[in-house]
Each structure stands twice: as structure tokens, then as C-alpha cells.
Amino acid sequence: MAGMVVFWTAAGLLAVAAAAVILLRAARSAPQSGVEDPTLDVYRRQLAEIEDLADRGLMEPAEREAARAEAGRRLLTAADASKAGWTSPSAQRPVLLAAAGGAGLAALALYLALGQPGVPDQPLDRRIESWRSGRLTDLTPPQLAAVLRETLKVRPEVEGFRFLALAEAQSDNPAAASRALRQALVLAPQRADLWEMLGLSLLSRSGGDVTPEVREALAEAVRLDPGALAARFHLARGRAASGDVEGGVSDLRALGRALPAGDPRLADIDTAISEAAAPAAPVTEGPASDMIGRMVAGLAQRLQANPDDPEGWVRLVRSYAVLGDGPRRDAALEQARRRYASQPEILGQLARAAATEPMK
């Protein structure tokens, strides 16, 4: 309510100030009615300048004469044509008052039709403060992340960053989650669970590929805690994916042996082993196809980082299709279809790319 009063007062004052400027300017203009046409002044000044330049030797005598004659002619013509005749009739003052006052009223009417009076400002600081003062359990993950970010700016501590990472991950913001975990690791570099979380967070950003960055974080987790199961699992997957199938499968089997019988995670390990041991696509053999594979992987990585690239998605889908990599082709196609659902032209290009025959 107080906000509304302040708003209407400020709006009213602005309208009054605008009216005052209009009236004051009109009042200042009025006494000047009937002044001489400034054109004459311009030509007089032009004549004076010619004399000035000539006196300083910057104009040849012949040029001076010609210029002086021309400016003189202009002055005479302007003097003949000069017409004053401007007045300030006091009868027009009511019109003026109506225009000055009417401007504010018209603006008010238009604002009531177009604006949203009563909607308060909502600066982020104030919103965070209100979330902080409420029950944390009522907050959505993005709200919780915002609250934690603000709190951690003042009082950085490891568990806070870990919670922030969880909230960011739930907010579908893996990049921010990774960042929060890195900040936590600055404070607690010996915590294996944080390294493992960081590795998993980076893994979700890379679309499941064990990149050097992922490998580095997971390896650090295993170094600090050899029992870090998730880290070991993905490192083994990564090892198999990078070409060392035998080593990767062996690591996975070792991991399986470490789990008790009936552990549901064994199923994941079996799946990973069968995926790793599956025969490689024919085109992935030889140095040239290695290079193609790396280029396609590079493209996929680029699109994860910078996904708004329709041409890139079409190229990626076509590449997977040519390489005969059905699962990756379908995953990329699905991702791109979701992104460009409203653009039929791109959807058509994607469908055509997906239908490309694999290379024999």
C-alpha cells in the first residue's frame, strides 16, 4: 500500500514537473516575440569572418572581394525577405494550460491501460531474503540454489557448497553444480566423495563420455578412496571406451566381484561389460576412421558446450548414421528434435540426415 502511495506521488510529481517545464519555456519565449530574423545575423557574421580571414592574410584579395560581394548580396536579400510578426497572445494561455495539464492526464490514462500499477519491484536480493526467511523445504531447487549462493558468498563452507551442487544439479544446471563442487574442493581437497561428485557432474555435462576432465576427477576420488564405486565404474567404462577394452572389462569384473551377490548395481556392471565387449563398428578401424571418430566426438562435445547450432546437430546425426552408430544417432536426433521442435525445416533436415545409409 505504501509503495502504491509513493508510486502515485512520484508519477504525479513527474507529470507536474513536465507541465511546469512546458509553461516555463513558453513564458521565457514570450518576451522574445518580434526579435530580428537571425538569418541577418548569420550573414553579418559571415561578412565579418571574411574580413577577419583577409586581415590575417588567410584569404587572397580577389577571393575576399568576391566573397564579400556575395555575402553582402545575401544580407540584402535576407533583409528584404525578413519577416518578424511573431506574437504572444494572452488568449492562448488557457490552451497552453490545457495542453500542459492534459499531457499528464493522457499519460495516466494510457498507463492505466498498458502498465501494471501495484506490481512491486522484485530485485533478486529482496526475493532471496524472503525465501531465506521462509521454510527451506518449501523452496524449489533453483530457489534453494539462489539462497545457498548468497549465503556462501558471506560464509563459504564445504557442506554448503555440496548442498549447492545438489540443488544446482536438480535445477538442471550441471555447469553450476561442477562449479560449486570445485569451490568445495578448494576448501576440502582430500574429500573423495566431492571428487566423485565432481566427476559425475562433469560426466552429465559430457553426455556420458569419460573425458580427460572426468577421468582426472574420478581418478582423484579413487586415489583418495579406493572404494569409491561410482568413480571406479565410470573409469572402467572410460578405459574400455578409449580402446583398452580388455582392461576396462577386467576393471568392471573386479568391481562386480567387490559387490555382494544380489546387489542391484551388478546389473549395471553387466550391461557396461556387454557394451564394452560388443564388436566395434566396422568404420571405427584404421587411422582414417579413428580420425573421423575423433572429429565426430569433437563435434558432439562442441554441441554439448554450445548447443544452439542446428547445422551442427544435422552434421552430428548424419555422422553417426554414416558411422553406423545407431544408439548415438538416435540419442542425438532425439536431443536435437526436442531443441528444434517448433522448426519444421530443421526437423526435416534432421530426419534426412538420420536416414543416411551407413558407410560399408
Binding site: V42, A67, S88
Partner: protein
């Protein structure tokens, strides 16, 4: 409350523009100083209201008020404060507000300071300025309102395109808009002159300072934009004949033609019709630029992606405003007096040649910009008109212009004599030819056209100074006499000399950089090096260094020449999680006026499985001159603007003091 206050202030500015139009027209028709003065007051108040609206929007950006749709779509709470402020004009809606702020600002200066103008002309010009303001403010309020609120504001904003989070780009739009919209006053004075039926020497003098100010702002704005593209996009180039770049270049070319044409009208009363045509064309090209950038017909790093409906509205504004002005011109032009006569060899003729060449150059740029769009609209086939087209059409025209530039100021008005002008330019000719021959013989690879360009650049720079030397009778009169003349030289003359010399400086840099730049790219592991001409770039390491709203890979590169480290460079590659975009942060090492320019590319996997990075290096000789040249030109414009003869109401103040 502040956001809604801004929304109200914006609407008030729109109503005040209407009031400004109505009162000014009524004042002119009734010859009432009271009503015309009130119209001027409305212009001043309108600017004040818009300044408050703009401040309210900046406040919303600074405080990350995501209940404002424009803030939610273009900002992020983790962005540094400078870029949160700059984001206020980083979007279509916010930049329209800035456009209107500049428009009403120039209108307020016209209303408040134009005491030298005759009442009839001024009242009509203020009314025209009011019409332009009304149209653009109505478009902003009704179709591009930056104060639209969201019922359910997001927790975080979507952030501004990271390419736009840059200091040069934070200040580039205000300069550019000041240039674009400054031309609106020239346009208003042109329309007013046509309405009043008075296009004479005095009118040309009134127009010149406005054209000069707008052109100077535009020069700085374009140069800043080019500099931004040079170091932010990481492509190693500085001008790409991008349609949006062309959109800003066309009003600049027309503005340059207008400045020269207005001199002829002012000094000799000649070319009145042509001068007023250019006055109308300059702002029409500015509006065309606004349409091209905002209509969605272009895809460019510089363009705002806006829906076609709003594009059609802008096209309507362009057609209605420019169309009615040119219709008025067509109606009134036949009645204009032709003005003073002049011989084929005279300063007037030189300035006419300048105008023909600049106008032809503008047409080639217009054709190169619009033809692909028209062809795509008609046949659905996308084609691109690139550098080869402009090299074949625009460059020869400009080369001829550069040859003629030093002659103009050396010729007398009305009837000139070529022989003394030639004599005065002999040193420029000799030095130019020597520079061209030296370039041809000494530089590898040997490039004839680029050597010719260097010769032209030296001709321009020395030729511009030759004119000043002649005016002060350097070496022809005693030193004391030359010094006395030097002190008496009007600032306008200094401005012209600087602007012409600045063009030469630009040509020098552009030719050298384009012809003799060197480039190399290679994937490097830490410890490996890349050779670019005489330079060896050694990649020391690449570190992860996170910024306030980005994650960065920053390389440490040692730039060595003859085994000695000259520069330590830190090019970076940034990832902005908020928008999911990656940018390159170029590292530049300035060596005298040349640049060693290094870009860090993406990380790849090396042969041994270790990470390697693509590093691109460029040696851009004399690159600094490309941006310094326009700086000197703009400085020339501003110095001319301080010339007592061009200042508005100078005569009145002098009389008042007396």
C-alpha cells in the same frame, strides 16, 4: 515501484512528443511564440521523462529484477555490474529505449539551444522532431516495451550473449545511436526548410554543426564496433562487409557527402536541392539500418533477432517517414533556386566530385546489402555478396576519391587554378610515389595494388598537411609570419585537415594489414611452439581460471622474436554456463603500431592421448592505424565543431557580452 515509474515515464515521454508536435505546429501556424515555446518545453520535458525511464530500466538490470521480462531474457545475477548496466541496451527493447533517449536528447538540444534559428524554421523543425519521436516512442511503448512484467518471474535470468559482455561493446551502441539519431535533427531541419521554402546559405550553416556532431559520433561508433569485432570474434579481421556493418556505414558515407555539400551551399549558396536531399537521406539510411538490424531479415552477430511482425512495423515507420519527406522534396525541389555558378575547376567542382563518388559508393554498398535479401525473398535462393564484390565496386570509387581529396581545399571558390594546387601537392606526390615504390621493392610478397594503396595513403596524409602549409605560407614567408598565420587558422580548417589526414592514416593501416598480414594455426601441447613470420609462439601451459560468470581455459604463451621474449600473452576460451555459449578471448601484443594477435582454440586429444590446444596466431602489421585513423577523423570533426563560426547562438552570446 521504480520499474512501474519507468513505464509511466516512458508513456509520458510519448504523450509529450505528441504535445511537442501539436504545440509546435500550432505555434508555427499562428506565429505564436507562446505556443512554439511551449512545444520546445514539451521537447525538454520529454527528454527528462525518457532519461528517468532509462534510469529505471538500468536500475532493474543492476538489481536483477527478473520480474521485468527484458531483464529476465538478457541478464544474469552473476554478471559483472558494468555488463548488467550495458545489458540495458543489449536487447532490442532496451536499445529502442536508448534510441529514443538519443532522439529526444537531440530534440531537446534543438529546442533548448537553437536560438540562432529563425522562429518559423525552428518551430517546424521541432514539430518534425516531435513527429519522429512520437512514431518511435509509440513503436517502443506498444510493440517493444522494455518494462513488460512477468507474472511468475524466474529465479535466474537467461543472461546476455557473452560476445556482448565486453567494454568496447558497452560503449559502442551509445556512440552509434548518437550518430544515427543525431541525423534526425538534420532530417528535421531539411523537412522544415522544404516546408518553409528556404534552403539557403544560412540554412546550410545551421545544418552543419548537427551533421558534424552526428557524423563524428557515428565515426567513433563504427570504429568501436569494428575494434570489438577485431578482438572479440577472434577471426583476425576488422571489417566483414556484414549487412549490419554496412547498415551503419551507409549513413556515415551519406553524412560525409552532406558535410561537404553543405559547405558549398553555405559558402556559395549552390547545390541547395542536393544538400537537402542528403539531409533527408542520411537519417533515412539510419532508419534503414534500424529496420535491417531488428526485422529478423538478417542473421548476424550484430543483429537483434526480432520477429517479422515488429520488422514490418519498422518498415512501415521507415516508409512513412522517409517516404513523406522525399515526396515533399519531389514537390518542392523544382522551385529551389539553383544557387551560385562555378567553373569546372573550382572548389565547388571538387566537392561535387566528392559527393558523386561518395553517393556512388553508398549505392554500391546499398546494392550489396539489399540484393541478397531481395533475391532470397523473390526466389527463395540464398546468396551472399562478399568482399570480392565490394573490392570491385566500392574500392575503386574510394581510390579515386582519395586521389581527389587533397585538391579540394587547395582550389579557390568559383574559379580555381589547377597549376598552383599541383605545385603545392608536389611533395605529397613525390613522397607518395616513393612510398609505393619502396613497398613494391622491399616488402614480400610483392603486391602492386597494396603498394598503390600505400602511395595513396601517403598522398592523402602529406596532401592534407600541404593545404595547411600553404595557408600559413610555410617556407614562403618568415617563420614569425607563418606562426602568426598558424595561430589564426580557424578550427574548422584544422578539423578538415585532421579528417583528411585521418582517412590517410586509415588507408595506410587497412592496406598494410590486409596485404601483409601473416597467419598460422597449429595444435600445440604445452612446451611446443608455432611460428608466425618472425615470431615464435611457445605454449607454456593452459590453466583453468574461472571468472564471475564463466569458466575459462587460459593459456600462457610466450611470444619470442630472435629468441627473446617480447610479450607474455594470455588468450582464453570462456564457457558461459548461463547461456551455454563459448567465446574466445583474444590476446593482443602491441608492437609499435602493429599487433601480434593470438587465439586459443578448442582442446583436442593429441596423438599420445594428452590434451593439445589449437592455437592461431596472426601478425597484423600497422593494425593500430586502422582504428586510429577514424579516431583522428572524429577528432577533426569535433575540433571543427568547436569553431566559433559553427557554434549555435555564438553570435548572440558575443552581442550579449558587448
Amino acid at each position: 515501484m521504480i520499474v512501474e515509474f519507468g513505464a509511466f515515464a516512458l508513456i509520458l515521454a510519448l504523450v509529450l512528443s505528441l504535445v511537442q508536435t501539436g504545440l509546435s505546429i500550432a505555434g508555427r501556424l499562428r506565429r505564436s511564440a507562446l505556443l512554439a515555446g511551449a512545444g520546445e518545453g514539451a521537447a525538454l520535458a520529454g527528454f527528462g521523462a525518457l532519461a528517468l525511464a532509462f534510469a529505471a530500466l538500468v536500475h532493474a538490470f543492476v538489481t536483477s529484477d527478473f520480474s521485468v521480462a527484458n531483464v529476465a531474457a538478457n541478464s544474469h545475477s552473476e554478471k559483472p555490474v558494468l555488463y548488467r548496466v550495458a545489458a540495458a541496451w543489449g536487447s532490442h527493447e532496451g536499445s529502442m529505449l536508448l534510441w529514443n533517449l538519443a532522439l529526444t536528447g537531440f530534440g531537446a538540444v534543438l529546442a533548448g539551444r537553437g536560438r540562432d534559428l529563425p522562429r518559423d524554421l525552428k518551430a517546424t523543425a521541432v514539430a518534425v522532431q516531435g513527429v519522429i519521436g512520437t512514431v518511435f516512442l509509440a513503436y517502443t511503448v506498444l510493440a517493444s516495451n522494455p518494462f513488460v512484467r512477468l507474472v511468475d518471474p524466474p529465479v535466474e535470468g537467461q543472461s546476455l550473449n557473452p560476445l556482448l559482455q565486453d567494454p568496447a561493446l558497452a560503449v559502442h551502441p551509445p556512440f552509434l545511436y548518437a550518430g544515427y539519431v543525431g541525423m534526425s535533427v538534420v532530417f528535421a531541419l531539411g523537412v522544415a526548410a522544404l516546408v518553409e521554402g528556404r534552403i539557403d546559405a544560412a540554412w546550410a550553416r545551421w545544418v552543419r554543426p548537427w551533421a558534424l556532431a552526428a557524423w563524428s559520433f557515428l565515426t567513433v561508433g563504427i570504429a568501436l564496433g569494428s575494434f570489438w569485432a577485431y578482438y572479440e570474434l577472434g577471426w583476425g579481421g576488422w571489417w566483414f562487409w556484414d549487412p549490419v556493418e554496412n547498415a551503419s556505414f551507409m549513413p556515415w558515407l551519406v553524412g560525409a557527402a552532406l558535410l561537404h555539400s553543405a559547405v558549398v551551399t553555405e559558402k556559395r549558396g549552390a547545390l541547395p536541392g542536393w544538400t537537402v536531399f542528403l539531409a533527408l537521406a542520411a537519417f533515412s539510411f539510419s532508419m534503414l539500418g534500424a529496420f535491417l538490424v531488428r526485422s529478423g531479415v538478417l542473421t548476424s552477430v550484430h543483429a537483434f533477432a526480432v520477429d517479422p511482425t515488429r520488422g514490418v512495423l519498422l518498415l512501415g515507420i521507415l516508409l512513412a517517414t522517409a517516404g513523406s519527406a522525399f515526396a515533399l522534396f519531389a514537390w518542392r525541389a523544382p522551385s529551389l533556386a539553383p544557387g551560385g555558378v562555378f567553373a569546372p575547376v573550382s572548389r565547388e567542382s571538387a566537392l561535387v566530385a566528392n559527393n558523386i563518388l561518395l553517393s556512388a559508393a553508398t549505392l554500391t554498398v546499398l546494392l550489396g546489402t539489399l540484393f541478397p535479401l531481395i533475391r532470397e525473398a523473390v526466389s527463395g535462393e540464398a546468396i551472399s555478396v562478399g568482399t570480392p564484390y565490394f573490392n570491385l565496386t566500392f574500392t575503386p570509387l574510394m581510390a579515386i576519391l582519395c586521389v581527389l581529396v587533397p585538391f579540394g581545399p587547395l582550389l579557390a571558390w568559383k574559379r580555381g587554378d589547377l597549376a598552383p594546387a599541383f605545385r603545392a601537392l608536389v611533395p605529397a606526390l613525390v613522397l607518395g610515389v616513393l612510398a609505393g615504390l619502396a613497398a613494391l621493392w622491399l616488402l614480400t610478397p610483392r603486391k602492386a595494388f597494396a603498394s598503390l594503396g600505400l602511395a595513396l595513403a601517403v598522398w592523402l596524409i602529406v596532401g592534407s598537411l600541404a593545404e595547411a602549409a600553404q595557408r600559413i605560407r610555410l617556407f614562403k614567408a618568415p617563420v614569425s609570419e607563418s606562426l602568426r598565420r598558424l595561430r589564426g587558422l580557424p578550427r574548422g580548417a584544422w578539423g578538415a585537415t585532421l579528417a583528411h589526414a585521418g582517412l590517410g592514416v586509415f588507408v595506410l593501416g587497412a592496406c598494410f594489414e590486409t596485404a601483409w598480414k601473416m597467419e598460422a594455426a597449429q595444435t600445440l601441447a604445452p612446451g611446443q611452439s608455432l611460428r608466425v613470420g618472425a615470431w615464435e609462439l611457445v605454449l607454456k601451459d593452459v590453466r583453468k581460471l574461472d571468472g564471475p560468470n564463466f569458466e575459462a581455459e587460459t593459456a600462457r604463451i610466450s611470444a619470442r622474436r630472435d629468441g627473446q621474449e617480447v610479450c607474455a600473452l594470455n588468450p582464453a576460451r570462456r564457457f558461459y554456463p548461463a547461456g551455454g555459449q563459448t567465446t574466445s578471448e583474444v590476446a593482443i601484443c602491441s608492437v609499435d603500431v602493429s599487433h601480434l594477435y593470438v587465439v586459443l582454440g578448442e582442446q583436442r586429444e593429441g596423438a599420445d592421448g594428452q590434451p593439445v590446444w589449437l592455437v592461431r596466431g596472426f601478425w597484423n602489421p600497422l593494425a593500430v592505424l586502422i582504428f586510429a585513423g577514424p579516431g583522428v577523423m572524429a577528432l577533426g570533426g569535433l575540433i571543427s565543431l568547436t569553431d566559433r563560426r559553427l557554434r549555435l547562438a555564438a553570435g548572440r552570446r558575443r552581442e550579449a557580452k558587448a
